[in-house]
């Protein structure tokens, strides 16, 4: 199976469509308005992994009342997809449930230590530190919905805890009933307790008669009927509408159309990444028609991907635990088949590994927004082959706001300078 593709929780991903084997995969990830305004991470998480034979995916909804629910969501989402991708298709529901329960218990042991080691900044206000310490004691929690589509077996294996929804549609767009399915808000996975409030729900079924399936988080609320039929544009419009509501929550959706194919056009051209001399970075010429790029990374320890928007500079800066990474770049579009993977380029990261679970789970943090902040002159410099200093790329953290007093002093100084200049003008020039 190929690498696990994950969507960045620090930014929003508008509706996108890509083709994996015979399926069209549409997804969207929007953080709640609160998180967007404050620049915080989304608590939801989307991951998938597929080829011509199988597709595994997970949507997780981190519990914001728990300690950094985004961490549990990401940890669990990656684990579920990795596990499902390699799982022999289950023979029956009980076998599947038992295997899943064993995994959830095993992952709990791993996550508990990681969450306990998650630092709480000492400079936070005492009340907030107390609240976070209390939350950390209770662990990080997430609801989840994960599925494996096996094209060879023509069957679906799905599992979930919580109130994320899985919906199936026939080829006429009619929703198929799932009478046995129960979506219970109280159910979730916890880094402290493992599966909480009951055993995980499972579903095994043949895909005969199923043309499409949609998984989404509860953020769609009463508007989830709008997901029966949608276009990329209508999906983005719906997300905008929901984000404007007072109850705005994270939105995540993953939709799979079976037996689909892109327009019969040639796949996108394959990018030709080059190592930026002296930096753990790649750059490549833009590919016509590409709407985003995916960098596939592989080290001794793990494989993962990072998406880079085509509207940004076609550049990728590796920021990951120390090691050698084999990198390939792929061009993608909503309307065309993706390119082949580029030739491999090796990058070496000299960063020390961090104990932080966030770093372990998602070692790459090059936000498109960071590149967006580059001045046009810097971007064009890299395009013509002049190496860019890493320090110019590392703009992940906005500069701290200047103290009010300093801004006041500089404003007064500017006003005095302007006054002096005006007086000078009237005295000397007239």
């Amino acid at each position: 199976m190929p690498h696990i593709v994950t969507l960045n929780q620090e930014t929003d991903t508008p509706a996108r469509r890509e083709y994996i084997g015979s399926v069209a995969l549409t997804y969207l990830y929007d953080r709640s308005r609160d998180s967007q305004q404050a620049g915080g991470r989304g608590q939801d998480f989307i991951a998938f992994c597929g080829n011509e034979r199988r597709l595994a995916f997970a949507i997780c909804d981190g519990v914001s009342q728990s300690f950094h629910g985004d961490l549990a969501a990401r940890f669990l989402g990656e684990k579920l997809v990795g596990w499902l991708a390699e799982l022999p298709f289950p023979d029956d529901a009980e076998t599947f449930r038992a295997a899943l329960s064993a995994q959830l218990a095993a992952w709990q042991l791993e996550a508990e230590a990681l969450i306990a080691a998650q630092p709480i900044r000492p400079d936070l206000p005492p009340l907030l530190r107390d609240a976070l310490m209390r939350k950390r004691e209770n662990g990080s929690e997430s609801m989840f919905l994960a599925a494996l589509i096996d094209h060879t077996a023509g069957a679906l294996a799905a599992c979930w805890m919580g109130d994320l929804r899985l919906r199936l549609f026939d080829d006429k767009g009619e929703e198929l009933p799932l009478p046995e399915a129960r979506w219970e808000t109280r159910q979730r996975w916890s880094s402290r307790f493992g599966a909480k409030n009951g055993a995980p729900q499972v579903l095994l079924m043949a895909l005969h008669g199923v043309a499409r399936l949609t998984a989404h988080s509860d953020g769609f609320g009463s508007r989830s009927d709008m997901l029966k039929r949608f276009t990329l544009e209508s999906l983005d419009a719906l997300a905008d509408e929901l984000l404007s509501l007072p109850t705005s929550d994270d939105l995540s959706l993953l939709d799979v159309v079976l037996n689909s194919a892109p327009e019969p056009r040639a796949p996108l051209e394959t990018p030709l990444p080059q190592h930026v001399q002296g930096e753990p970075a790649l750059r490549w010429q833009p590919v016509a028609g590409a709407e985003w790029y995916r960098v596939w990374l592989e080290s001794e320890r793990r494989s993962f991907t990072v998406d880079v928007l085509a509207s940004e500079s076609p550049t990728f800066l590796l920021k990951a635990p120390e090691g050698v990474y084999t990198c390939r770049v792929q061009a993608l579009s909503n309307h065309r088949a993706p390119s082949a993977l580029s030739a491999a380029v090796q990058l070496e990261s000299a960063l020390l590994p961090e104990p932080d679970i966030a770093r372990r789970a998602e070692p790459m943090h090059t936000k498109p927004a960071a590149l967006e902040m580059l001045a046009p002159a810097q971007a064009s410099a890299s395009a013509v082959g002049q190496p860019r200093a890493v320090s110019q790329l590392k703009k992940e953290t906005p500069a701290a706001a200047e103290p009010f007093a300093w801004r006041l002093v500089t404003a007064i100084a500017a006003a005095i300078s302007a006054g002096v200049a005006i007086v000078w003008y009237f005295v000397h020039m007239r």
Binding site: S35, R121, L127, A131
Partner: protein, 249 residues
């Protein structure tokens, strides 16, 4: 009016604490002064509110707080309404007991605040007044004011009034287990007239609050009054937990 509106950063809930800091609050309850136990409980519920408002390290302003400490006079402790994220930065105020118990003046201050605020928070959860005292009022009877307040409200429901009575003389039977206690079920459970007065000044617990309290392990009966005989530290903690039990998104 189902009390189902959720507290969000755009529709925060207003919670007004009326805290009796009269001289008697300096008396001991167990190994601590009553006023210290109230401060601890306030710290506890503020921490809980912060926890319920926090995603990662971000504190969403889902709660708006006003604190009136009263004795013979009323003191606006926070200098107006503060959102929970502002409250986080300022920390828990300290109280020192003194003076009498002018309960009516405290409720009057709350009524004035509500009259100013309600036109602007009609789409928000119903506000809640959490009144904590350890003795009978002096001066005017607060009951008529409280009854007026209980007729005010938002689209979500009338203003909720919770009373916490720090006393071991309020119930005929002591509460043995705070988690299995079902609440004051009838006037006959109460041991004195002032407790019955407080009962009439207490709103019934909305179902949404009762369910939130269940999440904390408390098993209050549907429709029980928001009247808490705070005989022990555990009961005070439970009573303050109720004040932060507005459903959140």
């Amino acid at each position: 009016m189902p009390y189902t509106a959720v507290a969000t950063s755009t529709t925060p809930v207003l919670i007004i604490y009326l805290l009796d800091i009269s001289g008697s609050m300096g008396q001991m309850l167990g190994d601590k002064r009553r006023i210290e136990i109230v401060s601890d409980a306030l710290q506890e519920i503020a921490t809980e509110m912060v926890a319920r408002s926090t995603k990662g390290e971000l504190v969403a302003p889902r709660y708006r707080l006003a604190i009136y400490a009263y004795e013979s006079q009323v003191h606006d402790v926070l200098g107006g309404i503060r959102t929970i994220d502002q409250f986080v930065r300022d920390g828990i105020p300290e109280f020192s007991p003194r003076g009498g118990t002018n309960t009516a003046a405290a409720f009057l201050a709350a009524e004035n605040l509500l009259a100013q605020e309600l036109p602007y928070i009609q789409a928000h959860p119903a506000p809640l007044i959490c009144h904590m005292t350890d003795g009978e009022y002096q001066g005017d009877d607060p009951t008529p004011i409280v009854q007026r307040i209980m007729q005010m409200g938002t689209q979500d429901g009338n203003v909720l009034v919770e009373n916490i009575f720090i006393s071991d003389k309020i119930l005929k039977q002591p509460i043995e287990d705070v988690y299995s206690w079902q609440g004051v079920l009838s006037e006959a459970d109460l041991a004195n007239d002032y407790a019955r007065t407080l009962l009439r000044m207490s709103s019934p617990i909305p179902e949404s609050y009762r369910l939130e309290m269940q999440e904390f392990g408390y098993n209050l009966q549907a429709g029980a009054p928001m009247l808490f005989p705070a005989q022990t530290r555990e009961l005070i903690r439970m009573a303050f937990t109720m004040s932060g039990a507005t459903p959140v998104a």
